[in-house]
Symmetry: C2
Amino acid sequence: MDYRKTLDFLLHDWLDVGSLQSRSRFADHTRETFSAVLDTCEKIARDKFAPCNRLMDEQEPWLDGVTVRQPEGCAEAFEAYAHSGMLAASDDYEVGGMQLPCTVEIAANSFFSRANVSLSSVPMLTSGNARVLVAHGTPLQQQVFAIPQFSGKFGGTMCLSEPQAGSSLSDIATRATPDGTDYEHDPLGPRYRLRGNKMWISNGDHELTENIVHLVLAKIPSPDGKLISGPKGISLFVVPKKLVHANGELTGERNDVVVAGLNHKLGYRGAPNTLLNFGEGAFPARGESGAIGYLVGNPHEGLRYMFHLMNEARLAVGVSSTMLGYAGFESSLEYAKGRLQGRPVGPGGKDCSKPQVPIIQHADIKRMLLAQKSYCEGALALGLYCAKLIDEQRTGTPEASSEAALLLEVLIPVAKAWPSEWCLEANNLAIQILGGYGYTRDFPVEQLWRDNRLNMIHEGTHGIQGLDLLGRKVVMQQGAGLALLTRKIQETIDRAKRAEKFAVEVGALSNALERLNFATRNAWATGSPDDALANATLYLQAFGHVVLAWTWLDVGLCACFQLDTGRMEQDLCKGKLAALEYFYRYELPKIEAWLCVVETRAATCRLTEAEWL
Amino acid sequence: MDYRKTLDFLLHDWLDVGSLQSRSRFADHTRETFSAVLDTCEKIARDKFAPCNRLMDEQEPWLDGVTVRQPEGCAEAFEAYAHSGMLAASDDYEVGGMQLPCTVEIAANSFFSRANVSLSSVPMLTSGNARVLVAHGTPLQQQVFAIPQFSGKFGGTMCLSEPQAGSSLSDIATRATPDGTDYEHDPLGPRYRLRGNKMWISNGDHELTENIVHLVLAKIPSPDGKLISGPKGISLFVVPKKLVHANGELTGERNDVVVAGLNHKLGYRGAPNTLLNFGEGAFPARGESGAIGYLVGNPHEGLRYMFHLMNEARLAVGVSSTMLGYAGFESSLEYAKGRLQGRPVGPGGKDCSKPQVPIIQHADIKRMLLAQKSYCEGALALGLYCAKLIDEQRTGTPEASSEAALLLEVLIPVAKAWPSEWCLEANNLAIQILGGYGYTRDFPVEQLWRDNRLNMIHEGTHGIQGLDLLGRKVVMQQGAGLALLTRKIQETIDRAKRAEKFAVEVGALSNALERLNFATRNAWATGSPDDALANATLYLQAFGHVVLAWTWLDVGLCACFQLDTGRMEQDLCKGKLAALEYFYRYELPKIEAWLCVVETRAATCRLTEAEWL
């Protein structure tokens, strides 16, 4: 089944994305403009991104003296992306944007992560950087640093982690001190000198753009030179690789930022991942060591600014992960249709004199294909649903907006974590279908598996997502988020009750929902975070499976309607219904094993001592 | 906990391997000779195998004209292995062996797969090849082709697969035709000319040994030139890379076998994996094209001969997979003890002014360590148990021998498949513990994950193991194998009943065992293989988890005894008991989700049509 058909089905038939056109922000758009964007992106992804995907894996970025170099083809591909306007797809007209719904933007970007996830990280980070500046920077900071990113003239990074501070961001040690006595009077914002080492900086250096805009978290020491411990001490700075005048032109000077090294990774090899040293004096800026950076917004609010677009960033990671899974699904489906091996076992055994059959005829191969389909199309549906909630949050009525915001709080950890776990498993199954061939680098599936392994680690590890969900999101506002989600799921159940054929699913999802609420209460029954959170990752897994079961039932209702009314290709609808059936029979029952640990607050792990291991 | 301590605990305290010394075959051995073998292997693995592990991954084997080349260090490491006598560790004195129990041999070899799994495949295949010849070859074939492999002078391969025949071996198309009119009178055995292409041949060429002995499956055409379809047509040939005289000396001529290419793989990169073309005339042997090969045993019995040592081969793969998992467990444990990140969450939240703690203090990190421990140590225990069954089969009383053989039938699919799935998951968790660092090639865990991914594919894929288990092993002899396993598990349950502290485990394992038998009957209730086998892989998973739960309870009983009697290091015993508790709380409950599909003969996958996907 062609991916585009599934995407269109989810966008139009399921989510009714066209209904957004009634909002004034999207008034210039029509189904045709949405389709044109998807067409353009599908084509650029196929013609420019896909061809250099394996090349970028094999020829990792290298450090040529001081600059990171990449193989040919990358620059041309990024240029095509920038030229399409997608860097500001959902942004305001006044900053050069297209004011597309987030839903369409995410759908359009899915083609790029499917074709070349490493390269697609460049626009993802660049747009994200520019958006933080639009939200929190001064008009001049926006003009000088954000607009050129939306046009693709500059690239952007997010410099958060340090060697000693990964998940624990409050422990960053990069310092920002005022640059001269006139530091408060720079038109580009209060000017500081930054000194410190940043780790894991994706696209921290490259030659795809004329300049690179680093957004850097750093601490401003108090007058006694001490750093404020914890997140409160953190401020946000914009630090260009090459210095710029207030009119936006390059001054011709380099800033004191140097690539200290490249990380050599398991996957995502095409994306340069750098260690950046700020202010160590390698390139003294205006005669002095220290990287020049301009404060964004107020001091001490940096973490909040940086996390302003956290939901979007985590959702984007989830959808990237989904598309890596989807690419493997497509490869293994094609292989399974063509590869001849074995014969069906009849009542009398196998008849070896008959020709071999395509392996897609074997039940176990179909199982592995259905599993991939249920993981990847389910995750895609959830990702698009969350994107539409973001549109709702931004453009809906006040009530709809706050409801969407609340629902996003509980869904984002799932939208990020679930695909990173299960679409990785999809890649694992794709390798298995190809067998020995899948284990070679002659086929794409092994790279997809390596690439996808990153997604459980960055943008908040799996463990962090579990703690966020069980420790914050489902308990905040007296559990209002979980209550809202429960109502939403119940609405789908109620609609499904009217369709006789979903009796099994209605019963299973109702039970699962009750079980999930019960486990949530029991996890917190003692009120102790130690007790509640000891099994937070398993809670995250169970929560995710319930959310996906809900998503599938909702998608299935739509597919069933399309099938019954004869309005859509039968095979497409039957495929969705088969994936739904697979998910309910093979996947949803797994939540029992996870929840029984959560609800009994099993202390096995918590109480194990390091010396026993 | 040092690996050697766990190994010694399992061998001596749990399995009582010393009891084998009462068998005449092992009469020359003592606990001291066993320990000396383990000491030697541990040292060679550490000093010679481990140092070239990453190097062999980074500098893949390359084809230098006609010969496969490998980086320095490999030859010296293999030489040290050969010098230790381990190539014939369990073989008869008269072929140069040490007559060690298989249990000790497998335990000793575990050090090598833990240190360098690619290199350890050379001795594994060489010994396996020689053993097939000892079992089925003529005395002269043994003298000329097997003995030099036991000494490490020659290397060995197993040439089964072809591009069109992987899992479906009966479809091989390599032909063997009589070589001249005197073909039956060659002292080395009936002489044939082989022509065909073999695929996925590990160590198909290298310079570690003076010659390479290929064991090749091929078909002898009937007088009308046709090949017999199916496995019955397959015969076994010994095909040396360089021709040899009947006195064993090289004649100086090459045989007509050529490396057509190398497979570039995801992992196991250090092991050259070759496409071998036989008899295409690149090196005409004695003036003619066609690779010269000598028939082993009778025609048409080749598959049976080759599979003679199938149990040992599959067990060896399972233990390799286990040790890859174990190596990741050790790496991530060490990292977790040293890496500072984050703080415990107290009732009032986190106190950021306190120093960061080692991540091993976080419950979720301990969960991932306990999971790895329960997977890898459990799999190791099962592997050693199976090895002891092989010793029992070979040297026990007739009753004990046939009981051991029957038990092996049902356990070998698990001993191969379970570690390949769950010790791979252990490697996944090891990466997660290291976070971003685990995703880089500066740490060993990513390579272990890549290496281990092969084990679900070779030596019979996961799907094939499931079909073997549910389609043959548990139904053969009216289910005698499953009935025997059920009795064995019940014996452990009965012993555990006497120890009050295992009440939960006794109940859980009893239920699981009943469930497994019920599901087996129900899967076959209609008598149709289509119905029964549609979910064979899920049956394999559930079966494996029950077997491992049994293994852990048995190991736990031993650890408990050691702890109560104060005879063993407390931490070691407590660690085993924590892993046991983890397995029962977190793992065993998973079988419900798998078995409910099996026992209802869910047809979701089987009935899905290719066009819907």
